[in-house]
Every structure is written in C-alpha cells, then in structure tokens.
C-alpha cells in the first residue's frame, strides 16, 4: 500500500514541473482536466508528458432529498493525486484517492457504499453514525518498446472499510486488486490500446451489539438487523457475519486519433464480476456458498474535440449498461434460479464550447443531457420497480485573468431532473419493512422532479510558488423537489425534500 502512495507522489512531482507554469496549461481549463481524467490512456498519451495535481477537498452534503440508504448528513475529506511522468522510455501515470467519510443519520446503512447494485447486505432501520475510509489507486506503467509497440501494466487497487457506532454495529473491510496487462499501438496520429482486466476481491462484514438487550429482543424493532437477499427478500437476524469473494474479468479497448482539427477519443470496456457470498469464515479457499451475484458492466464513451481558431468544441458521449442477477442456494442448489435482477442504463451527451485565446476575459458554455434507467426485480417478492429520468444541465463559466497572472473562474450550472417513466408492482402478501422503507422510498425519490443550482468559484495563482500553480476551490449547490408525476406517495419520502452540497478545497498543479 505504502509503495503505491510513494509511487503516486513520485509521479505527481514531475521532473520538468515548472515548464508549464505561466501558460494556459492543462490545469487552467476545465475541459482539459475532463480529458486527462477520463481514462488511463488519456493521461498516458496526454500532453504535456509530465504533469501532476494534488488536491485536498472537504465536502459536506445534508438534507432529506436522498436515497433511503444514504446519510442525511455526509462529510468527506478527499486527498486526490493525479499525474504522469516520462522517464526515458518508461512512462508512469495514474491517480490516487484517499478519503475519510463521516455519515450521520444513516438508516438501513449496514453496507459499504461502493457496491451499489449488489445484494447480501445487512440493514437495520436505526439511524446512526458511520465512518468510512477508502484508498483507491489506478496506476499504469508503460514501456516504449519501439515506435509502434508500447506494452503496459495497469493496476487498480481498492481498500475500503466502514464502521458503524450504533447497535447493530456494522463493520466492513473490503479489498480489491485488478491486474490489467495491455499494449498500446502507436501509429501516426493514432493510438490504440487494448488491455485485459483480471482481478480478485474480498469483503468481510459483520454486525454486533454492544447492548445485549437489542440483540434478541423485538422491543426495539429499529435495532433488529436483517440480511437483504435480493430487493425485498429479507431474513431477520440471519447471521452476524458474511464473506464476499469477488473475481473480475474483462477487457478494454481505447483509441485516440486526430485528423485535421478534430481529435477523437474512443473507449469501450466490458467487465464481468462474479461474487460468491458465504457465512463461512474459516477459509477463503473452501467455503459453503450461500449466494452468488453476477454483474456485467459495459461502458462506451467518445470524446470529440474540434479545435477552432477561437473556440474549442468538446462533445462527450457516454453510455453504461449494467446487468446483475443473483442466485440463492435456498432456491437452487446450483444457483441457476434468479431471484434478484438489476438493470442499469445511462447515457450522457455533453457539449462544451470554450474560448481558446483570451487575455482578460474568457468563457465556456455548454449543456449536459443525461438519461438513466434503473430496473430492479425481486421475483420471490413479486416486486418490479422501474424508474427512468433525465438530467438537463446547461452551464456557463467565465474566466478572468488578472494582470498579475492570477486566474479567477466563476461557474453556474443549473440542472433540471425530470422523471420520464415510473413503474412499480408488488404483492401485499410479500410486503415487509425493507420494501416499505427502502424500495418505495427510492422509487419515490427517482420519480420526483427536482431542480438543482450549482455555483462554483476557483482561484488559481502562481504567487504562492514560482514552481507550482496553487488554487482554491469552492462549490455550493442546492437541490430541491418540485413535485411528482403522481399525487400518491407510496413512502415517507418528503415531497418538499432539499439537499445542500458544499465543498471547499485547495490544489497544487505541478
């Protein structure tokens, strides 16, 4: 772990760091940052060859416009580093995130906040405090074998823990490692990379009670823990610990080309995850499988840049398709009968126009349109839920370059959240507290129209150090419900819900 941290810090301090200070570098324009953060090839092929950025950001969000299994109040501190460095024919690039998350008033939250779509998670309705910590690293080392071939090795590392401080006390320790070998083929103006994804992971979870009165009583129903075995099939006081063993396999194809004043980046990936869940704690090699969950994840994205004389045009296209399904030994000894399915689709189209050359005032403007469709079924509970909605966000930003070289940015991004289609069916003879409190809440959340206003300010200066650009960043956003498509509210989701977001941070561009 420490090796990874040292390595990331190393690549965040390139040898020729000062060569970009004072120019309109990749740091001062948001579209540039968007490009080099998109995928490993982007920062592997990026110009400049050496760059680095570290940031420390505090963020806070609170309010009841949230999903049922999200905290009413979340505070988070992120340390993030990204960079690339050329060392002869070797090139190392990657990013690293370390963060601490403090959740307060989180109900039904006895799970990690990473595996959103999976099952086999504990829950209890008692709202409480949780603390989480993540280490994430994505590191690529490549070697230019000749002008054409550039093999590389990409490593994806995740270490996570969550702990809760109210009964039933939850603890999760999760670890994932993906080893992704590949090769980049460099042609004139075109680069193509292909990589394999091979990985393993494991997670151990447990619930315990400090107050033994809660552990066997039904007098405190909010303290009773359940195991979620689908999206409505639940088991009361099932067990007190679980293990999840994950394996990953997949591939990714990335392309980059330029013809004329157009730059095109394409990325296609497919990743297949297989989780085996058990209550056996003794061995990771031999254990009695109790449930499985398979998740197929497909991603496609394109980035088209048109370099005009005065303006830069950026079109981004993204699509994600996720298909997940479980198997429970209770229903089939070979896990071939599916109880829970999830199907998640998203598509995004974005356009951003940026003024390229400016002396004092600059601007960019654009629009993002996002489409989401979430469909989940718990066949044992006769439950089917489907929500489709879109986000439409126009945006504008102005840049002001002061005479001393400081750069000040103000951005404004309103958003409209509009539901398109909502459908739910369930059996009253299968209703339970999870369906009533989580499934119906989330259904109401997704089908609620809302607006969001997002303000952002950034100040970048080279006065703090002649070596580095130093920046300060602040963001405030407010999201508010504006009603539903139906007057019938199925859950206790508040129809006047609000959520506020605030973040502030500092960063160094190296």
């Amino acid at each position: 772990m420490r090796f990874l941290i040292y390595l990331l810090i190393l690549i965040s301090f390139p040898i020729h760091a000062n060569s970009w200070v004072g120019k309109d570098s990749i740091y001062t324009q948001d579209y540039q940052q968007m490009i080099y953060r998109r995928n490993f090839l982007s920062h592997n092929l990026s110009t400049p060859k050496n760059f680095g950025e570290v940031s420390l950001i505090y963020s806070n969000s609170n309010g009841n416009r949230r999903l049922a299994q999200q905290a009413h109040n979340r505070q988070q501190v992120d340390f993030y580093a990204i960079g690339a460095n050329q060392l002869g024919d070797f090139r190392i690039s990657g990013d690293f995130l370390f963060n601490k998350v403090f959740d307060d008033s989180l109900s039904f939250g006895q799970r990690n906040d990473i595996d959103e779509w999976t099952t086999f998670n504990y829950f209890a309705s008692k709202a409480g405090k949780y603390e989480r910590q993540n280490y994430k690293a994505n590191l690529t080392l490549s070697y230019k074998f000749n002008d054409l071939i550039q093999p590389f090795f990409n490593v994806n590392y995740l270490s996570h823990w969550t702990t809760g401080s109210v009964d039933p006390r939850f603890e999760s320790k999760k670890f994932e490692m993906k080893y992704n070998p590949g090769v980049i083929l460099n042609f004139d103006n075109t680069n193509i990379a292909i990589k394999a994804i091979i990985g393993k992971g494991r997670e151990g979870t447990g619930v315990s009670y400090k107050n033994k009165n809660y552990s066997q009583s039904l007098l405190y129903p909010d303290r009773v823990h359940y195991l979620n075995l689908g999206y409505g099939k639940i088991s009361i006081r099932d067990t007190s610990s679980t293990r999840r063993y994950s394996s990953f396999v997949g591939g990714e194809l990335t392309g980059h080309t330029q013809f004329g004043n157009i730059i095109l980046d394409l990325n296609l990936s497919a990743e297949f995850k297989n989780d085996n869940m058990t209550n056996d704690l003794k061995s990771a090699q031999v254990y009695r499988k109790r449930a499985v969950f398979k998740e197929d994840n497909y991603n496609a994205s394109a980035l088209i840049q048109v370099l005009g004389n005065r303006h830069h045009h950026l079109i981004t296209l993204d699509a994600q398709y996720l298909d997940g399904r479980d198997g429970l030994i209770e229903f089939s000894a070979n896990f071939d009968k599916v109880n829970y399915t999830v199907n998640y689709q998203s598509a995004r189209v974005g356009y951003l126009l940026t003024k390229r050359d400016y002396i004092t005032w600059g601007y960019d403007a654009g629009v993002d349109i996002e489409y989401y469709n979430i469909e989940r079924q718990d066949y044992a509970s006769n439950l089917h839920v489907n929500n489709s909605f879109i986000h439409i966000s126009p945006q504008g930003r102005i840049y002001y370059r002061a005479s001393g070289g400081d750069l000040i940015q103000f951005a404004f991004k309103p958003k409209a959240i509009v539901n398109m289609a909502d459908e739910i069916t369930y059996s009253i003879n299968s209703l339970n507290n999870y369906i009533e409190s989580v499934v119906l809440w989330d259904y109401d959340y997704y089908r609620t129209k809302a607006w969001k206003l997002d303000w952002n300010a950034k100040w970048i200066t080279n006065k703090v150090s002649s070596q580095y650009l130093f920046g300060v960043y602040a963001n405030y956003a407010m999201e508010r419900n504006i009603g539903t498509t139906s007057t019938e509210i199925l859950s206790r989701f508040p129809m006047q819900a609000i959520r506020n977001y605030f973040s502030i941070g500092v960063f160094l561009n190296i």
Binding site: L219, I234, Y321, F331, A347, A380, L431
Partner: protein
Amino acid sequence: MKYKLLQFVVVVAVFLQGCKKDNDHVQAVDLVYQLEVDPSVVAFDVPFDKANVVLINKTNNEKYNAKSSADGKVSFNGVTPGTYSINVSLVLPAADFTNLSGIWTEEDFHLNYSEDNLPYYSSSSASIPLVHSQPLENFVIKQIYFAGSHTTKGANFRDQFFEIYNNSNSVLFADSLCFAIVHGKTTNTTGDFLLPNLQYDWSKSLDMNSWGNANTDYIYAKAIFMIPSNGKGDAYPIQPGQSIVVAGTAIDHTKPYTLNSNKEQGIEDGTLTIDLSKADFEVYMAPYLRKIKPNSTPFASDIDNPGVKDVEVLFATGMNDLLMNPQGKESYVIFKTSGNVDPNNFPKYAIPTLRTLTDATVLYPQVPVKYILDAVEISSVIEKNITPRRLSLQLDAGRIAVTGGPYSSQSVVRKTKKMVNGKRVLEDTNNSSHDFGVLLKADPSKGSTSFID
C-alpha cells in the same frame, strides 16, 4: 445538433434494453386454504367469514392477514417462497352460537388452528381442520416468568417463577396439583423419527406401549413439580380469583444474598429483577438431587427459604433448580391426577431419535392429556427461532412469546376477560395467542399490576 444528440440517447437506450438477459427465475407462490370443521364436533354451519387467518413468514417475521370467504376459502397470492407458520382463529359470540346451534350458552365459541414449519416453495392448496376445545373452569396458568432477567446486571434465570390461578367460581384445592415442563425437540433440523412439523414422533420411541396416540394423547415431561398434600387433599384451598406463586428460589432477588457456597450473589441493577421472598412455594431441588445422586451438593443459587414451603420434585432432568428455557423452547402444563393414579408411576420413554437405551438414557414421564387442566405453548418472538410445537392443538391452538426475548425481565400473563363481583375471570379459549399478553416486567405480587386487563 441537439436533435441528433437526443437521437443518440434514444438509440443507445433501445440498444441496451435489448441486451437484457433472460433468466430462469424464482416465482412467488399462491396459497389456497379450505377451512373445515369436524361435523361430529361442530354440527352447524360455521360462518367461516368470521375467521382471521395469519400467515407468518418465518424468514423475516412478517405477518400477512386474510379473511375467509363464507364457505371457508382463504387465498394468499404473491407470497415469497419460504417457510411459514399459520394461525387461524374464529370467535362466535355466544348469541351467534346459540342461534346457529340451538344450544344456549353465555360463553363465546372458539375455533382455532395453528401449524408451523410449512415449506412453501410452490403454489399449493390445503385443508385446515379447525379445532374446538372446551375450556375447564378450574386452575389456569396465570403467569409464567421463563425469560429471566439480564444475565449479568439482573438475576439471570434465578428469579424465574410461575403463578397458578383459580379461574372457577368455587374453592379449589392445590394439593397434588402438578406443574410440568413439557419436553420436545429444540431445533428445526430434519431427520428420522420426527413428525411432519419436525417435532419428535413419540410413537417411534423404543418400547412405546401406550393406549391411543402417543403424540396427541400425552405430553412428555422434562420436569414435574407437585404442590404437597396433607393426604386429605384440603391443605391448600385457593379461593376463586386467588392464585399461588411458585418460585425457583423464594428470596428477594433485588438484593445481594449469600449462596449455598457461602459466596455473595451480588445484584448490579435490582430494578431488572423481582422480590420472590413472599412466594407461596419454591422449588428446592437438593432433596431430589440427593435422591437420584446421593453425593450431590445443592446448586449454589438454589437457596432454601425455610419460610416458604417446598414443592415436591417428582422428576427433573437437565436442571439443578427450577430452570425454564429463557429462549422459549419449552411448554408448560398443569395437571392433577384422579383417584389413586400416582404421577410417580407414569411410564417413561426415551426420545424417539435415541435407538439404543442405556442406564444413562434419560426417560421422560408420559403424562396423559386427560389429566391436564391447562397448557401453554411458549415460543420465541422471532419466527425463525421458533422450534416445533410440543402441545397438540387441542391443548393450545396458539402460542405466546415475550417480545423482549430471553433475559428481558418480561413474563407472559393470561389476560383478564371480565370482572364478576370484583373477581377477575381470565381468558381461557385454549389459544395462548389470544389468551395471553406480555407484562413488561414480571410481577409476582398477585396485585392489580400483575394482571393484564
């Protein structure tokens, strides 16, 4: 441009929708029941639409209710596959019963049914034979404090007691009245020599030789405690509406006391437990233990209070003091034999899963149901922890649990049905789910606070 972008979104969405996998999936089940009665017992047309049917999912403790049609048909559609319990209760007010049967009564008429561990993994239909049992105007079990109190801050199981109440209109004598802990299988595992509900099939016990049905005409006792008698049977008259309390150890558990080992038994939180020093009887096991094992020493906390009479221990296994299972895995009966029948002479049998008998094999006394005055089926409050019922539906068509679980200081108490001339008449429909409630703290005082009105 915008139009083309939207087109892209739609095309991608349609394409991805087409990628969805088609899986063989689990199906919710539909359950259909037909309520029935034995026409030789109930000779009139029962208005089944008055029946309440409760289906309980043992996996998640959720309860689902349904009403019956007039002809007794009950349906539950879209039920999650799993293991279930079912409870049916039908109450005919006295006037309705009189109209339907032509037999005058001032008591309500009850029909009940209860079944546990029903595996429903596919749609099915079944008949439900409702059971009617006529309660006796006699002694009833009023209160059972089996849960005990907090294991470290309270008194653990040391403060357990039970209370027996005269629910009749006449003086009854407690002499030779027996209280038995009913033994049964305490897990839901499958195996041989078991009934469909996974309880022991006592008819398969080795050397079983009894008249009638070994499972429904008898119970098998883990312990029998008898109120002593003066030989004439008139030593302990109990007035109508009065009761006797039998303590495991008749001392004040709210305060420290000296154990038989001369060590002090402290108490961290006296409010969690109770004062049993005023109990009418106590279970002092030392004489019985010495009888079956001459060199045994009294259990440390089984203090003999000389001011409180001891019950006679006729049989006890797996305990050194009165020990009722705090998890609710035992049931309880009171019985009184007639004539010259001596409970000490009841035949004894091993559990049917034991296929070889040795000198060490525990043999459980077989108590005929015909002597039983009252019976209470106890269970865990969490459905999945409920073990197979030990009592037949004729003895108790329901069951009762403490909501706080083991060591919660709670007791189960028979509810008050009515007051007659200042005397409480307690519910007795032979359905503990209906007749009993939970007292948040066990109360041996016999006062108004010890009742659930």
